[in-house]
Symmetry: C2
Subunit: 208 residues, 2 copies
DNA sequence: CGCGTGATTGAAACCCTTCAAGTTTAGTGG
DNA sequence: CCACTAAACTTGAAGGGTTTCAATCACGCG
């Protein structure tokens, strides 16, 4: 990991602030001293389970995953985060406890990292952002509920179809075994699911 | 469902405001006109999938569940909420869309319901509550992540053991088939899980 | 009492996993 | 640019955990 600082280069982060917080550009410079750009190579850790990392990471460029490792050594992916998404370990950031999860880079990644003080300043210079922030959180909760519902009710095939519909871009950028891990199935199973799907789509032979 | 109004009776809600928002008692009366007490009998719906219900429900007394119904008619429970917990459909409340889920009463239930304007007023009369509210949301996200992790990594038995550890009270109040639905298994499977657990605990016969 | 709901149990079926082998792909160094 | 290696993906056979379907039992309530 390597730390750089060039606010003008983080165009995605600026767009994020404009779009989600309606922050006018003249207020950007007040925030500059609260953010840090970090650069990670593929495979680098942003957060290790057990650490206390109070940074929040905005993904300016690249792709990371958040995952746990169970007692038998198997990894389980809780979240992918690519450009314009935010990733953090909430146990650390909000409750000062050891991180529950690992976060590492799937691709070379540039992040804009900051801690709670950025949000405090943001709320100070523009009080409306409180509501915007709450909306982002509520939406995230909605997304997690939807995922739980899928895990409770859908088969491997249905979950995979939902994944490629929700994240067509990730389907191409993420190795298949990680998608399997996200879906809660083995890589072998996902391979078979894909095969049966391919058969359905390309071999309704009696119709051709 | 039946609507009543007696602020002084909702002692749990008052405690909730004191503990989570540090709201001094002299400020309570400013909120009174923004809340409504509602009473539901066992089986009544608080929210129906497809409705737009912009109320947030604080459970003053009783027990409710939030669930979906899949195409084959099976129910999948996303959340239980008993005393001092909050339940709402976020699609409705925050995005003005039809509710994604059903909510109904497992026991006779009294709720304190309110809409977004209560939070607005609360933030106005006591700005610090913004942070308290965010903390509640972040903690909720943490809880959902933990549940996803369980669904990805743990067997039926492990999930059940975690459930009775996390919610010993609910284990007694909620019928077994609903716990199974929450865990993502069939009632039959849960019955068998419980049997093998009972055998382990009470029949290490060579030891007795 | 009898009915309905919830819990249990058994047998067969199914989906997914495991393990093992083989194939393809991607990255690295000569 | 090819050769080599490791990682990713595929495929097969066997096994395991969970579901399904059906029957039985237990209980509470009108």
């Amino acid at each position: 990991m390597c730390t750089i600082n060039a606010f003008s280069m983080v165009t995605n982060f600026i767009k994020f602030l404009e779009q989600n917080f309606h922050l006018p550009s003249e207020k950007f410079d007040k925030l500059e001293k609260y953010i840090t750009c970090k650069s990670f190579s593929k495979g680098d850790y942003l957060v290790r389970q057990g650490d206390v990392i109070t940074d929040t990471f905005f993904i300016e460029k690249g792709l990371v995953r958040m995952y746990s490792v169970d007692p038998s050594g198997k990894e389980h992916i809780l979240q992918f985060a690519c450009e314009n998404r935010i990733v953090l370990d909430r146990s650390s950031v909000y409750f000062n406890k050891p991180s529950q999860f690992f976060v590492d880079a799937i691709e070379d990644t540039v992040t804009v990292s900051f801690n709670q003080s950025l949000l405090d300043v943001l709320h100070e210079i523009q009080p409306e952002t409180v509501k915007n922030n709450e909306l982002l959180l509520q939406n995230h909760i909605r997304h997690l509920q939807f995922r739980i519902n899928m895990l409770l009710s859908a088969s491997a095939e249905e979950r995979y179809l939902d994944f490629i519909k929700q994240f067509p871009d990730l389907t191409l950028r993420v190795p298949q075994w990680m998608i399997a891990s996200y879906l809660g199935i083995t890589p072998e199973s996902l391979s078979r699911v894909r095969k049966t799907l391919a058969d359905k789509n390309f071999k309704p032979s009696h119709k051709l």
